[in-house]
Structure formats: structure tokens, C-alpha cells
Symmetry: C2
Subunit: 327 residues, 2 copies
DNA sequence: CAGGTGTGTGAAAGCGCTTTCATTCTGGTG
DNA sequence: CACCAGAATGAAAGCGCTTTCACACACCTG
């Protein structure tokens, strides 16, 4: 930068200003500086900038799993929403472990990011403390909370279970089943389950037959789950799968079992993953606002980083039932 | 750090050493320093460290798409392989655009990462120049090349097409079809296609009927693709789908069309995504070494960063045909 | 025309670490 | 016992930027 300043005949302060806030530098200076940068093919060192300004044009994003395509849509939208702002996303995944989350937060914060985005509302207290101490905007996502660390944008997983139950009731389901994966780790799945079961009982149903898969959601798990479910109670005629991937496996397994979907067995998933509409029969599911979450976060982040807002809050983006032929 | 040094009664140099290379500090000092760190709940500032040492414990990883679960497995394995090394992955995705890739490389390099990992072997010349100038280890992945920037680990996409063709021939396919997505952007798909078509012609087949989907691989695209393919030539009895997601859609569409798989129509995919084994019929596919790529990269990276190796090279991890009932 | 206001620029003091170099202190060696 | 190699430590000079503060200059006002 000193070289650039020398060649352009200005001070490094002016070069720095031309790079960060071009509008406060006179056009003449700006063009001389641009030319010098070009000639020297100067690349600025963001590390030094971050140290000097005590903030790096970086946003730390932490998700439970990169394999889970739920969050991929959010991240893609977030990236689109932040494009052109100069901010760079830094991704980390926790593998659904709060402890790994704490470590990630701690090492991300050591990079003095401009903001942090976390998944979910439950964190170790140490994580929350570190986040609060950093005094940067914090966004939680994919859930709702009355007491967010700062801002949270998502939807109610309980209401997902509720919506599915009502849908099953409308379609005259008699005996309910549920297949969920990884429920001890992924408490959002547990919330959907709770919403489903509560509402079922309120509506006068017998408690749903439950299969809890120990591993992460998978089609294979869904297939095995359905087989076990039907073995446990052959009268089940409506299954809520906590995830479309599980529903996909269940759909195939139903075929292997010779069960007609939807007349003998109704299957509803969650996620509205891309393949849901392409299945045979097309898969009924609940669509979470994956991309909207990303856009909303980008919007809030930009507003906050520009200083135009400063309040925290909870943003409920809702979900949508997508009824198709599998129910 | 100065506070820690004062409390421990040592110099900041010693604190720094205790943090970076504990083994060269006497045990007594180390414990005094650890205690001071604890008492002050000191968090080190990695930005300052990166500036002073001109290198950050960061590895930049660039993939074409975060939604594409192919690369997710690699990244997960890479993360596992680097765990405990203190290096942090920084993820970026290009959306299959070489121009975005160049920008990402440029902004990642501004963070002075310890190494860079890119997807594929084709990059803008400016990208390669920037990479070479940075003098850090560079890993390309998911392909092979005689002239890698530095190191490359992957497999031959052409041979995937070849393997599928041979498999179809063994199963007595007569008339071939191909469904590929995004082939103008994703040249790896184009390579698989080329291998398939070349080998088909060599083996005496008529040129396969081809459907090129303009968008990214999707089950919906696969379903539409198969419909169009069969409309174009009803005699097609074996389809190679460039991606398991497409194959999934094709499988469902075959059912809608009343075509029995595999007796009337054989379907083979690529990727061995998790659901492939759960389909009905289970999906034949070719399994790329997704996780192995990640582990191998971690191994090479660690060796290189420790200085124990310094040669570049090309590592072919091969692929495996996974014949199932859909062929 | 003195006094105020606003704009654009430069000097220089950091930001919080790392690392070189010099120094001190050990314990062995001939 | 003088000498030296080796280990452990400290002083201090950066790393390459950003930003505060001061200043110069133009432009208005009454």
C-alpha cells in the first residue's frame, strides 16, 4: 500500500480511504490511485485491515451438517443476499454437537467476524456468553425463540407436526405412525414429533406408533423404519416422516411391501426437497422457508451492519403444507 | 496477551510460544501461563497472529455448489482429516462459474490461507497465476490432470462413462440413452458423457439418444428427461443418467410410463448417493471416492504443511461400479 | 473582510500478535 | 576448572493496514 501511495503521490491514508470509502476521496485522487493499484497489481491484505479496524468483512455461519441439504438452500440464499456487500461467509459445521459448536464459535470469534449466524436456539451457555461478549450481530435460524441471543429467523417445528396431523385427519387417517431420525441430537425433529403427537392426542387419536432411527436421516433408514413400523402395527395407515429423505425410503419400502400409497398408506414428509415432486406418487410434505430464511438474514445483517437498525427480534417465516398424491 | 504475560511474570514472547509450540517452553512456565490465561479468560486474536506470521491457520476450500451433495462427503471427510490440526476450513462456492472462482480465490488469498483446495482442473489463467504467486500448497480435486497446479486427487470421469457402457453391454442392452444435466457448465458431466459415447461407438452401438437438461441435476429433470427420451426413441432399453438424482427421477418416471425396470429399461446413475440402495428396484450406479478424496487431501495437506513432502502430483483414487437391480 | 463551515488530505500512532537476535543459565567435556 | 553446546527466556522490531487528529484550503455569510 505504501508503494501504491508513493506511485500515486498520496499518503497511505488516502489509499486506504479510496479502497474502503471511495466517495470521500476526490475523483482525481481516486483515479490516480486506481491506476497505481493496477500498475503494481496491488492486492490488499485483508488480515492487516482486519487487525487495524478490529473487524473483518467476514460472517461466520455455523450449521449442524453440510450433508443435510436443508441448510444448503439457506446458505445459498444468504450468499446471494450478501453478494456485492463485500462480506465473505465462513462456514463451519458442528455435526449436531453443541460442544463442537462452542469450539467453532470460539475460533470464529478469534477472527473478529462482522457477524455470526448459528443454527437453532439452543447453545451451551459458554457459547452464548462468548457471543454476547463479542458485541457483534448474532443471528439464529431455523427456529423461533422468545429470547434470542439477538435476532432469530425461522419457523415453529411444533406447528409442522400439528399441520401434518390435521392433514392426516382431513384425509381420514385412522392409525398413525411416525418415523424420526437422530432425535436425541436433532431436537428440531423432536419438536416436530412433539407437535404431531400432542395434536394427535388432542384430536382423539391413539398415540402414534413411533420408530426412532439412531442415525442421521436417510432413505435406507426410512425403508427399514417403515418395515419395522408395519411389523409393529399393520393397521397403521398414515406415517409422518420427519424428513423427506426418510419419506422417500418409506415410499419405496411401501412398494416392496405391496402397500398402495395413498389408499392403504399415506406418507407425508418434511422439507419439500427437490425430489418430492418427482416421486411416484408425488410426495406430500411440509415446505420450510429455507431460502427465505437466507434472504431475511441477509437483509437483517445488512441493515444491522450499516447501522440502520439495532433491535433484536424473532421473525416467524411460517411453513406451507404441500399436499400431493402420497396422502 | 500482555496482560497474561504480566500476570504470569513472563514476556509476551514466551506466552506466544506457549500457545504455538508448547514443547519449547518449560513445564513450569507453561503451567503459570495456562493459569493466567484461565484467570483472565484470555482469547487469542488470530487476526493479529496471522498478520505477524504472514500465514493463517486457514485452508480455503472452493466447490461448485453446496447443494450438490457429491462434494459434501468430501468436505466432511476433509474436515475429519484435518480435525485436531488447528486448521480451519473456509468454504466458498462458485455456482460453476470460473469467474466467481477467480474472485473467490482472490479474496481467499487476501486472508493468507495456509493452503487452497479447488474443485476441478480447469481454471481461468488469472486464477492459476494468483495461486502460483501465493506459493502455498494447492489441491485440486474430483478430477485427474497431467499438469496440476500443484497436487490433484480424484478419478477419471471418462472412465466412468466407459464402465457404465461395459456394464450395459454385459447386460445385453441394445439401444442406449443418456440424460445429463448442466453439461455446458459442469464439464465433468460432459467428460462422463464423452467416455460413455466413445466407448459405445467403439463397441458397435448406434450413437446414444441424448437428453441435455439445461438446469442443475434434479429428480424432476430426470423425470422429464426420461419422458422426452422415450418419446424420441421408444426402443431405448438402457439409460445412463449423469447423476443419481436424475436417475431417481427417471426411475419414478419409468414407473409412470409403465416400463418395468430393469427388464424393459435399465437405468444406471452416478454418485451412489445414499438413497440409491434404498430405491425399488435398487439403483445401479458408479461410486466416486468422495470421502477418500477428502481424507487423501487432508493427508497430503498435513504432510505438506509439516514440510515432510514437497512434490506435487496426481492421485487417481478410481471409481467402483455398484451393480444393483435397476440394470 | 473577519469569522465560520465544510471538504479533502497527511502524519503518525496504533491494532495484537510473532519472531529474530541477544542474553542468561544450565550441565557436560577435556 | 575454563570452555562450550544447548535450552529457555526477553527485548524489540515489525506484520500492513486503519483511523484519529490536525491542518490547509475553498467557500459562504453578515
Amino acid at each position: 500500500m505504501a508503494d501504491v501511495a508513493r506511485l500515486a503521490g498520496v499518503s497511505t491514508a488516502t489509499v486506504s480511504r479510496a479502497l474502503r470509502q471511495p466517495e470521500i476521496v476526490s475523483p482525481e485522487m481516486r483515479s490516480r490511485i486506481d491506476e497505481a493499484i493496477e500498475r503494481l497489481s496491488y492486492r490488499r491484505n485483508l488480515v492487516a485491515g482486519a487487525l487495524a479496524s478490529a473487524s473483518s468483512m467476514t460472517v461466520g455461519v455455523i450449521i449442524p451438517s453440510i450433508i443435510n441439504s436443508f441448510f444448503a438452500a439457506t446458505i445459498e440464499a444468504l450468499e446471494e443476499g450478501m453478494a456485492g456487500s463485500g462480506y465473505q461467509l465462513m462456514l463451519g459445521n458442528t455435526g449436531y454437537s453443541p460442544e463442537v459448536e462452542r469450539q467453532l464459535v470460539s475460533s470464529f470469534l478469534a477472527w473478529s467476524p462482522a457477524a455470526m449466524v448459528l443454527t437453532g436456539r439452543r447453545h451451551e451457555s459458554e457459547t452464548v456468553r462468548a457471543l454476547l461478549m463479542s458485541r457483534i450481530p448474532v443471528l439464529e435460524m431455523w427456529e423461533l425463540s422468545d429470547h434470542p441471543v439477538d435476532m432469530i429467523v425461522g419457523f415453529s417445528h411444533r406447528s409442522v407436526g400439528q399441520i401434518v396431523l390435521r392433514h392426516f385427519a382431513e384425509r381420514n387417517a385412522c392409525r398413525l405412525g411416525f418415523i424420526g431420525a437422530y432425535m436425541d441430537k436433532d431436537y428440531r425433529t423432536a419438536d416436530r414429533h412433539a407437535g404431531f403427537v400432542e395434536t394427535a392426542v388432542q384430536a382423539g387419536y391413539a398415540a402414534p406408533v413411533e420408530i426412532r432411527l439412531p442415525e442421521r436421516a436417510s432413505a435406507m433408514g426410512g425403508a427399514h423404519g417403515l418395515r419395522e413400523l408395519m411389523a409393529r402395527d399393520p393397521k397403521v395407515d398414515a406415517v409422518f416422516c420427519s424428513n423427506d429423505m426418510i419419506a422417500l425410503g418409506a415410499l419405496f419400502e411401501a412398494r416392496r411391501l405391496g402397500l398402495n400409497v395413498p389408499s392403504q398408506l399415506k406418507i407425508c414428509g418434511f422439507g419439500d426437497l427437490e425430489f418430492a415432486a418427482a416421486c411416484e406418487p408425488p410426495l406430500s410434505t411440509v415446505r420450510p422457508p429455507g431460502r427465505q430464511i437466507g434472504f431475511q438474514i441477509a437483509k437483517l445483517l445488512r441493515a444491522r451492519l450499516e447501522g440502520s437498525i439495532d433491535a433484536g427480534g424473532c421473525f416467524d417465516l411460517g411453513v406451507e403444507l404441500v399436499p400431493r398424491a402420497s396422502t
